[in-house]
């Protein structure tokens, strides 16, 4: 369907598509097999200026919005959700600085993020703080001109690979969520180290690692926004980032549909290509229908958010749920269309199905997203 992209948006799509076709697709199976971080591809993505999309022009960026990022993510995820996740995580990691950071912090970090010289990561999740993010235990205490951070962050995308980390820590533990603040921690800061590297079911090329803060001392000016406003910034960050994750579902589902249709035209059973059987056609049709509905919702939500509405949470959560549940369904059906071949690693759809699962889990589980939609409905009708 025609979505009437601007010339600039079409350039983003074309650039990301070239990266996907030339740099990602040829190596994705190998990266998956070896659990290998796609450093070279991310460098290519940087050279193509895609990391600059989400950075304002005054800091050397492209000045794009949520929709522009979503377009890039959709194309990259058509190649590999692991690579696209590594890209997305850098955006997620720097959003708190963009949203709430001081001018000084923006000048310090945004230009190198825009050029792709440094990557970012977002440190929120902990062992006891997943869906209930208010359960975080990492603390930050001001000691003279330095903040001292203690705690362990878990499952952090780009952990050990990024140079810039936005860490959520409690500055006032008695106040719970209202006592949280965000800090920028850099690779190499004293007391900052990396722990366990995870071995995952899917998105295996992305790095997922523990961050260990042990009397980690950072300069006072690395506090992002005002003390105690961390959770508000986290929520705003996730509102803006979720359409990007939804877009990963769109790109992935598109890739799975492409594989399924091409295969069904080639595979002959009972003397005919299987695409000529209505049972297969209906599966493919349902995949395409769901995919296009998902794309339309993601694009609409992203455009809605770019208009800076008062409430963006509902649209953001709705598109995340729909697009990622759809991606799980479509990739599962793609494996079904390819039958036994689909289950084998020689074909790309089994990886797609494994990669799809995380989309329903990370950046807020789809159950939490439904909570958000439900709560918003409750407010709207009160």
């Amino acid at each position: 369907m025609e979505y009437f992209l601007t010339e600039e948006q079409q350039m983003i799509v074309d650039t990301a598509r070239e990266i996907t076709n030339e740099k990602i697709i040829p190596v994705r199976a190998e990266l998956d097999e070896n659990n290998q971080f796609p450093r070279e591809i991310l460098e290519d993505i940087a050279k193509a200026d895609l990391f600059s999309i989400f950075v304002p022009e005054e800091y050397g960026g492209f000045g794009g919005g949520c929709f522009d990022i979503a377009l890039a993510m959709e194309e990259l995820s058509r190649g590999c959700v692991g690579v696209a996740t590594s890209f997305a995580a850098s955006a997620l990691g720097i959003f708190p600085v963009l949203i709430a950071g001081s001018e000084e912090l923006k000048e310090q970090y945004l230009p190198s993020i825009a050029s792709g010289e440094r990557w970012a990561a977002f440190g929120l999740t902990e062992a006891n703080a997943g869906s209930d993010a208010s359960g975080i235990q990492t603390t930050a205490v001001l000691d003279g001109d330095e903040w001292v951070l203690n705690g362990t962050k878990q499952w952090i995308t780009n952990g050990g690979e990024a140079e810039i980390y936005t860490i959520v820590a409690l500055t006032d533990p008695q106040k719970g969520a209202r006592g949280a603040s965000i800090f920028v921690v850099e690779d190499g800061d004293p007391g900052f180290s990396y722990g366990k590297k995870e071995d995952k079911m899917g998105i295996r090329s992305s790095a997922t690692r523990e961050l260990i803060l042990k009397d980690c001392r950072i300069p006072k000016n690395r506090l992002v926004g005002r003390k105690g406003t961390g959770f508000i910034t986290v929520m705003k960050t996730l509102d803006i980032s979720r359409p990007g994750i939804a877009a990963l579902g769109i790109g992935l589902a598109q890739a799975a549909l492409d594989e399924a249709v091409v295969y069904s035209k080639q595979r002959v059973q009972f003397g005919k290509p299987i695409v000529s059987f209505q049972a297969v056609q209906h599966m493919l049709a349902d995949m395409a229908i769901q995919l296009e509905a998902g794309r339309a919702l993601v694009y609409a939500a992203a455009r809605h958010i770019d208009n800076n509405p008062k409430n963006m949470s509902k649209a953001s959560s709705m598109c995340k749920v729909f697009a990622t549940d759809m991606a799980m369904k479509v990739t599962t059906d793609a494996v079904q269309v390819l039958g036994g071949y689909g289950y084998m690693k020689e074909y790309p759809v089994e990886k797609m199905m494994r990669d799809a699962k995380i989309l329903q889990i990370y950046e807020g589980t789809n159950q939490i997203q439904r909570n958000v939609v439900g709560q918003e409905l409750n407010k709207e009708y009160s």
Binding site: E8, T15, E18, D44, K47, A48
Partner: protein, 259 residues
């Protein structure tokens, strides 16, 4: 270092058809792309510029729509483009094309290095690069697979051979034709595309580059294509089996039988 990259717009190899009437490639309705070898020449030029400074100019001879390939070159890091376009250039063979490109390059002033792809994927002659060098009167090396070292007055390169490579040092100015192994071309950046979109690309005619009318286009082309055809597939292949000695014996017998 001032570098010129010669670029050709060619029909996408995925869709090649011959026009039996004119004995040329059917170009109507076929998507045009930058000759793949030329992408590598361009990338090498941009990398040399990044190392030494200077200016990369992409030059193409072709119809007005060949401007697209120059915009693509600008997006991939070239600083300037030059479109060499004139109805009088039409029908040029490699001889006339080499002459025309050399005249265009001379019109650009002092050039240290000219880079070309090894060959174009449509004509596949691999003659234009060396032809341009001869017209310019500069030394050249074909099939360069690596730039080993470069300085303002010389360049050291590896020339790909069947078994290994030759190491060659050339004084500048010089011309190189490159193979795909030389580098991995970058994807055009967003900023590059923005710049390319806005760029004004100068177009020069035969008169502008002082090309002699008798040396250009169809009239200036000694090559006459008599017939173009797809070779018929030969069906009489035979596979010998057995030990190597037995296979050789069978081959010798067959060869003798056909003498």
């Amino acid at each position: 270092m001032n570098i010129v990259v010669c670029i050709k717009q060619v029909p996408d190899a995925k869709d090649v058809r011959l026009d039996p009437e004119t004995n040329t490639l059917a170009r109507e309705g076929v998507e045009s792309i930058m000759n793949p070898y030329d992408r590598h020449a361009l990338e090498e030029a941009v990398q040399l510029k990044e190392e030494h400074g200077g200016c990369v100019t992409a030059v193409t001879m072709g119809p007005p729509q060949a401007e697209n390939v120059l915009r693509e070159a600008l997006a991939c890091g070239a600083d300037k483009g030059l479109l060499v376009s004139d109805r009088a250039f039409a029908g040029a063979d490699t001889w006339a094309t080499s002459y025309t490109l050399a005249k265009a390059i001379e019109s650009l002033g002092e050039i240290d290095l000219t880079l070309c792809g090894k060959q174009a994927i449509d004509g596949d002659t691999a003659q234009v690069g060396p032809g341009v060098a001869c017209r310019l009167g500069v030394p050249f090396v074909t099939c360069v697979q690596k730039t080993r070292a470069s300085s303002p007055d010389s360049i050291t390169v590896e020339r790909m051979m069947d078994d290994g490579y030759d190491l060659v040092r050339l004084p500048l100015p010089a011309l190189l034709t490159v193979v795909k192994d030389i580098n991995e071309p970058r994807v055009a950046s967003l900023k590059g595309k923005m710049k390319a979109k806005k760029a004004v690309i100068p177009m020069v005619s035969a008169a502008d580059i002082q090309a002699a009318p008798e040396n250009i286009g169809l009239g200036g082309s000694p090559t006459k294509v008599v017939r173009v055809f797809s070779p018929e597939a030969r069906g009489d292949r035979q596979i010998f089996t057995g030990t190597v000695e037995e296979q050789v014996d069978q081959l010798v017998q067959q060869l003798k039988a056909h003498l």
